[in-house]
C-alpha cells in the first residue's frame, strides 16, 4: 500500500492504518529500535509505542515521508528508553559506542555562551549532511541516525569494518570543524 493511502487510513481513523503500517514498516522500526535498545523485547515495546504515537499524531499531521516520520518517532522513543535504562545502570547496544565516537565533536556545554539551542544544532547537522557527498551521507546517517553497527555498514558497502571506521573518523573530524566554523561548539 502506498504511504499516502496509509496516511488516509489514519485520517479516517481506520484500524487498518496500524495493521498496514506494521506490515510495511514494522521491520524498519524494529531495526531502528533494536540498534538502540539491543534487546528484542524493548525494541518491540518501542515499535508498539510508535504505532500509538502515530495514531495520536494523524490527524492532524500528514507526513510527507511516512518512513521518516515513523522512524523519527521510533528513534526518539528508543533513545528515551535507553536513557531511562542507563539511569538504572543498564544499557547497551550501539549507543555507548556512537556516543563515545561523537563525544569530541562538541565542547563542554558548561559555558552558557556556547550552549546551543537544540533547533540550531539540528539545522546545523542538517546542513552538514546536505553538504556531504552521497556516500558519506549514507555512512554518517547509517551510523549516527540509525545507530547501525559498523559491521552492518561495512557489509552494505562491501568493504571492511576498518574502512568504515576510517570514514567515520574523517566524518567526525569534518563535523567538528564544521561546528567550530559555525560557532556551535
Amino acid at each position: 500500500m502506498e504511504d499516502s493511502e496509509i496516511v488516509d487510513l489514519y485520517w479516517q481513523r481506520s484500524d487498518r492504518a496500524i495493521r498496514e503500517t506494521e506490515q510495511k514498516y514494522g521491520r524498519y522500526c524494529h531495526r531502528i529500535a533494536y540498534n538502540i535498545c539491543a534487546n528484542n523485547e524493548d525494541a518491540e515495546e518501542c515499535v508498539n509505542d510508535t504505532w500509538l504515537r502515530a495514531w495520536n499524531a494523524m490527524p492532524t499531521q500528514r507526513p510527507a515521508t511516512l518512513s521518516g516520520f515513523l522512524g523519527a518517532i521510533t528513534r526518539n522513543l528508543a533513545l528515551d528508553h535507553y536513557r531511562s535504562k542507563r539511569s538504572r545502570k543498564r544499557g547497551g547496544g550501539e549507543i555507548p559506542l556512537a556516543l563515545e565516537e561523537l563525544g569530541d565533536c562538541l565542547s563542554s556545554p558548561s559555558d552558557p555562551e556556547q550552549a546551543l539551542e537544540a533547533r540550531e544544532l539540528e539545522q546545523a547537522i542538517s546542513r552538514f549532511v546536505d553538504g556531504l557527498p552521497e556516500t558519506e551521507q549514507l555512512i554518517f546517517l547509517s551510523r549516527y541516525w540509525f545507530l547501525a553497527p559498523v559491521a552492518e555498514i561495512a557489509a552494505r558497502l562491501g568493504c571492511t569494518q576498518g574502512k568504515v571506521k576510517t570514514s567515520l573518523f574523517r566524518l567526525r573530524q569534518k563535523l567538528r570543524l564544521y561546528l567550530q566554523e559555525e560557532n556551535l561548539c
Binding site: 521518516g68 537544540a118 556516500t135 547509517s142 549516527y144 552494505r156
Partner: protein, 263 residues
Amino acid sequence: MLNAERLLDAMQGVRPEKVEKAARFLGYTEQVQPRRRGHRRLWSSLLVAAILISLFTATAYALGLFQMSGRRGPEHFTAQIGGQNVQWPGEYIFEFEGPEECPEVHFQVTWSPSADYWHPAELAEGWTNLAEGQPIYNEESGIYTASCVVDVMYASQFVDGGAMILTGFQPQQITQETWGEVQVYKFQAKATHAVDAAQTQFLTGNFVILFHPEQGWIIGVRGYDSMENLAGIARGLKVESTGNTIRRSDFESPYDFCDIYMG
C-alpha cells in the same frame, strides 16, 4: 545531557528524504539483495587510500589475456551503490581490457614479519581472500594505522569502461618487476588528506600490487608497514584457483579501490 547525546538528538534535524535514503541503503525499508561478493568494495572519496596507479603512462601489457593501463585524472565516475548514484573522484585511473570472466583465486600467507602480525589471525590462516595486519600506532599523528591489507580483485570487473581508481593518494615513482608470471608494481604514495585537524600531517603508504595478466587477478598488498615487509608478504603469497569463475556481472559496480585505512 552529554554533548554527544545532544548531537544524537540533533540528528532529528536531518531531512526525511536523506534519512529515507540511508534506510534504503541499509535495507531497512525494502529488501536489498546483498552483494554477491561481500568483500568487493566501492568506496568513497573520503577514504585514505587507493590503488596502484599510473605514473607510468598508458602502458599496455600484451603478455596475456588481460591488459592494464594507467592514466592521470582527475576524473569523476558515477556508479550505483545500494540503489543510489554515487560519484567517485579519481586522481589516477587504472583501466583494463580483456574477457568479462576469469578464474576466481584465493591466497595463503606463508611469510609474516612477526608471529602475531595478522588480525584476526584466523583470517590469515589457510586460504583466504582477505588478510589484515595488526594496526600500528603512529606516534607523530597519534592515530592507529593499518600495517597491511591484502585482498584480491579481478580485471574482469573493470573491463569495458570500468576502472580501479586512485583517490586521496599521490603515488611516487612506480617500479615494475616480474615474479614468474606475475607483474609486480611497487610504489610509495603520499596521502592527499591530512590526518590531523591542523591539516599538517600527511601519511605515506607503501603499495605492492601483483597482477596476473593471463588469469586476470590483482592482489594488493599495501599499508603503512615498511616496503620491505610488504614485499616480503607479497613474495610469500601462494595463489590458487578456487575452481569458480568470476564474471563482470557479479559486481555491482565496475569501479573499485585498493585502499589503506586507519585502524
